[in-house]
């Protein structure tokens, strides 16, 4: 009973939030709506007995990623309305309708094979977190380590790209080249 109500509620809210993200002219509204949508998606995860993932979603997505976006927004003039000239609206909306229809058709059709075997079957009466921990550090260890390296790389990249030195470095390069050319 609760499940049905919760599902439809969250579904409606998520769809509304994301529609605001996509359609709004104000950047701040869009960002806020995105954050809200993330939270509701986390709600879905809880509904689906993936508690660990739900928490990770809130922490990483709504917490870290949205904070990043918020910082990014500070660079741009957000009070102005984002004026966009969308080219050929008709094509875009046609594509949207088509893709939505196709996808719903695919996904709503009875699933073809019911003989899907579970690779890592859930063991009952063990909490979700423990299960994830078990799987993550045994079978998915290598992807885990690789993901860690990737995050490290992303962090370094982010720092390098956005630092002041980077900006100056670029300017200096131009000046250096100019100096070298003059001194010849």
């Amino acid at each position: 009973m609760y499940e049905v109500i919760a599902f439809y509620l969250f579904a409606a809210l998520t769809i509304a939030m994301f529609t605001i993200v996509v359609m709004s002219k104000n950047a701040l509204y869009a960002m806020s709506a995105l954050a809200g949508g993330m939270i509701f998606i986390s709600g879905f995860f809880f509904l689906l007995d993936a508690e660990f993932l739900g928490v990770v979603q809130i922490v990483v997505y709504s917490g870290a990623i949205m904070a990043l976006y918020a910082f990014g927004m500070m660079f741009f003039d957000t009070t102005r309305d984002v004026s966009e000239k969308m080219r050929s609206k008709k094509i875009a909306y046609t594509l949207f309708v088509l893709s939505a229809a196709l996808m719903v058709v695919i996904l709503a059709a009875p699933l073809a094979s019911s003989s899907v075997q579970a690779n890592f079957p859930t063991v009952e009466h063990v909490g979700n977190v423990q299960m994830i921990g078990l799987v993550l550090f045994t079978k998915y260890l290598i992807p885990f380590e690789l993901a860690a390296i990737m995050l490290l790389v992303a962090m370094i990249a982010g720092i390098v790209l956005a630092s002041k030195k980077m900006d100056e470095h670029l300017n200096i390069e131009d000046e250096e080249i100019g100096n070298v050319k003059e001194s010849r």
């Binding site: 080219r87 594509l95 893709s99 196709l102 996808m103 058709v105 695919i106």
Partner: protein
């Protein structure tokens, strides 16, 4: 003994390939010497093989399998039997002499090396033709000599007339080859094999109509190669090539390939005497026809070319009437004195700075004694005077005609003999004796270099004595081909011989008499009869008007309307479509991220559609 066979066969090829390396370079004397030496090697091997065949009999060799596809089996096989060894000896002997002669003749030509390469290639093809033991090998040689003839006639290819003549020769040969191919197909269809032995063994069992058709088709091929009417116009025009080419190809070897074919397929033609008689009739007609054209011609080499044509007619008469060994004998003797005539004519041409009109020559005896004597000897042999070679062979042919009861043929050949004697000596008189016309043109002739004359001596000798080999020849060749016995009472025979000699001698006498007194009056040249003859009965004009022009129109039409408008158009359309689609597709790459994202979504839609269709199909 097989080594001799292979050497005889392949030394001309080696010579051709070796000289071909130097073909683009300026004259190098050693190429001529090497080529002549290798052909001489081939000649020596042929002689050895002659003795061997005489002692031990034919020699069969299968070199390797060529085509083995399903039921069709064609090996590269060679046979040296009595007929082919005679041909080999004739071909290599004349070729060696022509090679040596060419060293002197082509002395100042800048394509000296290329000439020897082509010449040796020709000898190789001819050897394949005569040595092959199946019809397909014969056809390979057939085409090879056609090709080399084209290369050699059009040797001076910058001359338009020469390349035109070469094309004419090749195309006419090709038309005839179609007939030959039909014959080959019929043979395979009915016999299942191309080997001579198999075909001749199976021939008697085939229905007569099939054998008749095969015989006719094979003879059509022979007509092209041996320039019988109506495919004869190429032979006279082939004189555009250098004189050694005319001597080798158009006197002694290639044109005799047709006769060789008929002799070789003699067992086939024996089964169909009616076709044989038709061949003989055509041969007799050509004999007189060509001789009549030679009567009035003023071109030195053309006269000799018509003479060749005429003698080929004689050979076909003999072969058609079943006297194969006699045809072969005449082929051999004719090769000797005809090539001698051509080579002598080459000497004359060189002396006269390539002047060909005999009316502008005269009295060359004083400056060119050796050539004059040789050419006179050859002419006497050609006319058929005892004891020279031509007498024996030509006389035998007349007896054959008489023996078969074909008195019409006999009469035609008889008249032909008289005409032959007349025009041969007309040539000799106008060139070597009589008024020195050439002085008016400021030409001071001198004879050829000594080694050239020495090279011609063996031919002269053979032209004189070859006739005496007749009994040995008959005994030798009839081991393979059918015998032919002449059943004429001796008295009649002597009468015939006397009559033939008489008309020949009278022809000579008339020519000598008339031309000592300065020839015929000029008014004769205006007569319609004269003009008809000197324009070759207007046959070339007929061919040009009724065959070449319509064909040219047709070709132009097909080229412009069909090839360019339809075929090219279709191919171009395909290319244009691809190009245009590429141009349109370029517009996807606008550089605008939004557009690219949309294209991405379009792609995704397509894939989704595929997924639905695919799973629906499943």
């Amino acid at each position: 003994m097989e080594n001799y066979l292979y050497t005889a066969l392949f030394s001309p090829l080696v010579s051709s390939l070796f000289v071909a390396v130097f073909a683009a370079r300026p004259k190098m004397l050693f190429t001529g010497i090497v080529a002549s030496l290798l052909i001489a090697v081939s000649m020596i091997c042929s002689f050895v093989l002659l003795i061997d065949v005489n002692t031990y009999g034919p020699l069969h060799v299968t070199m390797m399998d060529w085509i083995a596809a399903g039921n069709l089996e064609i090996p590269f096989g060679f046979v040296v039997d009595e007929v082919s060894v005679i041909m080999m000896v004739t071909v290599t002997l004349v070729s060696t002499i022509v090679h040596i002669y060419s060293i002197g003749y082509m002395d100042h030509d800048k394509s000296f090396n290329r000439f020897f390469s082509y010449l040796s290639a020709f000898v190789f093809s001819m050897m394949i033709l005569v040595m092959s033991d199946n019809f397909v090998g014969l056809f390979i040689g057939w085409e090879g000599v056609g090709l080399c003839s084209w290369l050699l006639i059009g040797f001076w290819y910058h001359k338009h007339s020469a390349s035109w003549a070469a094309n004419e020769a090749f195309i006419m040969n090709r038309i005839a080859d179609l007939g030959m191919l039909m014959g080959l197909f019929l043979i395979y269809w009915n016999v299942g094999s191309f080997q001579y032995d198999d075909v001749f063994a199976a021939a008697p069992e085939l229905p007569v109509s099939i054998v008749v058709t095969i015989g006719i088709f094979l003879f059509i091929g022979a007509m092209g190669k041996s320039a019988q009417f109506p495919l004869h116009t190429w032979l006279a025009d082939a004189m555009e090539g250098p004189t050694p080419v005319s001597a080798l190809i158009h006197a002694a070897t290639m044109v005799t390939a047709g006769v060789y074919l008929v002799i070789r397929a003699g067992e086939l033609y024996s089964l169909i005497p009616h076709v044989g008689f038709a061949i003989a009739s055509l041969g007799a007609f050509v004999a007189v026809f060509a001789a009549s054209m030679a009567l009035v011609n003023n071109d030195l080499k053309r006269i000799i070319a018509y003479s060749t044509l005429s003698q080929l007619g004689y050979m076909f008469v003999a072969a058609g009437l079943g006297a194969y060994w006699i045809a072969l004998f005449h082929l051999m003797t004719h090769a000797f004195f005809k090539s001698l005539l051509f080579l002598g004519a080459g000497n004359v041409m060189h002396a006269m700075h390539d002047e060909l009109n005999i009316k502008k020559m005269g009295g060359l005896y004083g400056s060119m004694k050796a050539t004059a004597i040789l050419m006179s000897v050859a002419s006497v042999a050609l006319a058929g005077i005892y004891p020279f070679a031509g007498f024996f062979s030509k006389d035998k042919i007349l007896e054959v005609a008489f023996n078969e009861g074909a008195y019409g043929l006999w009469l035609a050949l008889f008249i032909g003999a008289g005409l032959t004697a007349f025009y041969s000596f007309r040539l000799v008189m106008l060139v070597f004796f009589g008024e020195k016309e050439h002085v008016k043109y400021g030409i001071h002739p001198h004879d050829a270099q000594p080694f050239v004359i020495y090279a011609l001596l063996p031919l002269g000798l053979l032209a004189i004595v070859a006739g005496f080999f007749e009994p040995m020849f008959e005994a030798f060749v009839t081991r393979l081909v059918s015998e032919y016995h002449i059943h004429i009472p001796h008295a009649t025979e002597y009468l015939l011989i006397a009559a033939t000699l008489g008309i020949a001698l009278s022809g000579i006498g008339f020519a000598v008499y008339k031309y000592k007194r300065g020839g015929f009056s000029k008014s004769l040249e205006d007569k319609a009869c004269y003009r008809l003859l000197s324009n070759q009965y207007y046959i070339p004009k007929v061919y040009e008007y009724y065959i070449m022009r319509p064909f040219t129109v047709l070709s132009k039409f097909v080229w412009q309307k069909i090839d360019m408008k339809v075929v090219d158009f279709t191919v171009d359309i395909i290319a244009k479509c691809i190009y245009a689609s590429g141009q349109e597709a370029r517009k996807i790459q606008s550089g605008n991220l939004s557009d690219m994202l949309r294209w991405m979504i379009v792609g995704m839609l397509v894939l989704l559609a595929f997924a639905i269709v695919y799973s629906a199909m499943m």
